[in-house]
Amino acid sequence: MKSKLLIALLLILASSAVIAGKAEDQQIKSRQSAYGFAGWNLGKIKDQVVDHPDTYNKDQVIAAANAIAAVANSGLGALFGPGTDEGTGWAKTRLKPEFFQQPEEAKKLATDFNREANELAKVAAGGDAGAIKTQFAKLADTCKACHKSFKIKE
């Protein structure tokens, strides 16, 4: 009887651990999707204003910049809940634990990204390919800054 109780208790504990892990994994999966989607749009803008300016298509660049801004404005911070420096979404997360030890810095870097992403959407609407290229570079720098501080290289 006692051993059955113990097994039941262990099962509950184990499954609650799995469920708890699931919530983190879902956040990780969602944010990996968000950044992957933003990356696709960033790639399109780079292709059309940096690598092959002759293919510049104003509407497509606007659409891509708006998509990145939408990702930035979606409240990504909610996907960085406590404990999400461990877990697996589409792949094992590469968030450094330092992210949670330096919340001010994390907030600053995230806010930088949001600001430059919204600025890119504004500049894209203007249709000046040169200005878009400059703003694209500023946005890419905010990506790099955060990767450098809080993304594991591997």
């Binding site: 803008i45 497509q60 500023k138 890419a140």
Partner: protein, 236 residues
Amino acid sequence: MTFRIKVWDLPLRIFHWLLVAAVSAAFVTGELGGALQDWHGRIGVAVLGLLVFRLAWGLVGSHHARFSTFFPTPGRVRAYIKGEWQGHGHNPLGALSVLALLGVLATLVSTGLFANDDIAFEGPMVGLISKDLSDQVSYWHSLIFNVLAGLVVLHVAAITFYLKVKKTNLVLPMLTGEKRLPHPVPEHAKGAGLIGFILVAAMSGVVVWIVASGTLLHILQPAPVVPPAPTAAQNW
């Protein structure tokens, strides 16, 4: 009385200092990343060209530039350690350092061709492998850089040691090409000369162009793998 002898030919010296400049620039642009990442990629391809040049120059260049002249065979290393080595170009330990530097740089450049920065930069050969593998290669690329940094520190430390302790300036010959010796030495064999230099430089240029223009990628894998922008047919 001192006698001047020519040790480093002009193309070799130009190669050396261009490599110093390119590697420094690659270091800075790679560390800063972001918008400068494109320049990191371009400089990396330039380093590839320099390495191809050095490889060819090691076969057809002047006496001391040739690998056959300074290749650190066990016998040569042993002689050097015993103090019996008598040469004027790379000594056997220096030669080991040269080969290590060239080898590590070649590994860095080759991994860089397949690397990405997880933002909007991809090396010119990324299309040949999966994103996962490219991520892995990018990690190796950053690890191997540490080996290069260590070798560069060793290189500079050895030069400083020669200058301060052995009272031998190794930097000056790399600028002027000449070494001063207390005794005359027989004239060394001539190297490839101007025509050879032009041919080797042109070959390196072609390699750079093939890689940078994506021609090689098109030959190996004609279909693009980058997720495309919407086309007219699927414009929704």
